[in-house]
């Protein structure tokens, strides 16, 4: 019984959201406000259950934990909670600075080890014997050429000539045009993928509606 009720709720919410295809309307608003509320409430529960309790509260009862290691996150967390009081919001600056500092290190390491080194190595691997069979020499060269011209497209700075707009050297401009073409092809491929994903999900929603309506029919 409860399952049927939840299915009905799902059906109504689906119709309410899909009604936005025609235009903004109260049903759509009700659905998304409820959705935002439920997701926010659920995340709050998850944060409390899976982070704050095991990482912040549990160590208080752990006699083995060093007080300094326990106290500092507590202090920083309390300073952050002060953001709820406008007058004390300035206290939240320190924990936010801590977060940003850690984030900057994560960004730098991710950019270097995650993408730069990995992608540069991958560009070379496409010429290595095992992969050469898959795309061949020409394919590898096209990949390398496309990658380089794409990078050149993003060249932002160029020599300033008084009285003229800043323009890159002619050969860079040509390479940038080719890079633009590669970017357009890439974004087109991604766009096609995005369309297929959303199309599949739309089909499943329509299928759900059809299935639900079939259950209503005798």
């Amino acid at each position: 019984m409860t399952d049927a009720l939840w299915t009905l709720v799902a059906f109504l919410l689906t119709l309410a959201v899909l009604s936005y295809a025609i235009g903004d309307n109260p049903l759509f608003r009700i659905a998304i406000y409820t959705f935002v509320g439920v997701s926010a409430g659920y995340l709050a529960v998850v944060l409390i259950d899976h982070i704050l309790i095991p990482k912040l509260i549990a160590p208080l009862g752990n006699s083995g934990a060093s007080w300094g290691i326990v106290a500092i996150p507590w202090l920083l967390s309390l300073l952050l909670l002060a953001r709820l009081v406008p007058r004390l919001s300035f206290l939240g600056t320190l924990p936010l600075a801590f977060l940003v500092g850690v984030g900057s290190a994560v960004i730098i390491s991710g950019a270097l080890f995650g993408t730069l080194f990995g992608q540069i190595q991958a560009a070379g691997l496409s010429f290595s014997p095992p992969q050469r069979e898959s795309i061949g020499w020409i394919g590898g060269l096209i990949l390398l050429f496309g990658t380089i011209t794409t990078l050149l497209y993003f060249q932002f700075t160029a020599r300033r000539t008084p009285g003229k707009p800043v323009t890159r050297p002619p050969w860079v401009e040509v390479a940038a045009k080719i890079g633009q073409a590669f970017i357009a092809i890439t974004l087109g491929a991604f766009f096609a993928g995005v369309i297929q994903t959303s199309l599949t999900v739309l089909i499943t929603r329509l299928d759900f509606i059809l299935q639900f309506l079939k259950t209503l029919l005798p």
């Binding site: 409430g41 920083l76 600075a97 850690v102 984030g103 960004i107 496309g146 073409a181 999900v201």
Partner: protein, 207 residues
């Protein structure tokens, strides 16, 4: 921007440098420190999330209780938020009685929103040449059409002409070039952005 929150800036720079060095050189002293700082960052991110959620609740409460221009839709936010929070705190996030909130409310709404995207994308693509006419837009649309056809599975059967299959198969690797170039460029931008924070040039935390 000068002289903004010197202590906070020192903390950001110091913590960032320690964690970065811990990444680069996982030495006996640096690596545990990096792990500890990351653990604290996860805790603080969670607390920040809670604070922001409470702010969100306050905003909707204010909208609902505003003397003028009340936003009655905020009531539905509160109706969604409070019971979910209460039930979650009562039973725990893993309880089976909580799961329908995800499967019967979040999933259909999210899936329907994603479904709506299909119409949005179709309309945007149809109008693209009207709003931004350029050879780049044309190439973008041509690529979209080709990969839509390739991804539709029409040419994955034996009945499809072989030359079309081969052509589409040959085109399959092309997006990799642009994607790699864009990713490398984004990595460069991210690197410089992180360094600006480490140098105290960007200080979004300061008030």
């Amino acid at each position: 921007m000068a002289m903004r929150s010197p202590i906070a800036t020192a903390i950001a720079i110091g913590v960032g440098v320690i964690v970065l060095l811990g990444y680069l050189f996982p030495l006996p002293l640096l690596d545990p420190l990096r792990t500890l700082f990351l653990d604290w960052a996860i805790i603080l991110a969670a607390v920040a999330g809670l604070v922001a959620i409470l702010n969100l609740f306050r905003v909707h409460w204010q909208k609902l209780s505003a003397p003028r221009n009340r936003d009655y839709y905020s009531l539905f936010f509160i109706l969604g938020f409070v019971p979910t929070l209460a039930l979650g705190l009562l039973y725990g996030s893993g309880d089976a009685r909580i799961q329908p909130l995800i499967t019967a409310i979040q999933l259909p709404i999210e899936a329907s929103l994603v479904g709506l995207l299909t119409i949005t994308f179709a309309i945007s693509a149809v109008r693209l040449m009207a709003t931004r006419r350029s050879w780049i837009s044309g190439l973008f649309l041509a690529s979209t059409i080709i990969f839509l056809l390739a991804g539709s599975g029409i040419f994955l059967s034996d009945t499809a002409p072989s030359f079309l299959r081969n052509t589409l198969g040959a085109l399959n690797f092309l997006p990799g070039a642009g994607a790699r170039g864009i990713l490398l460029g984004i990595a460069l931008g991210s690197l410089l952005t992180g360094l600006r924070v480490l140098l105290g040039i960007d200080r979004p935390y300061s008030e």
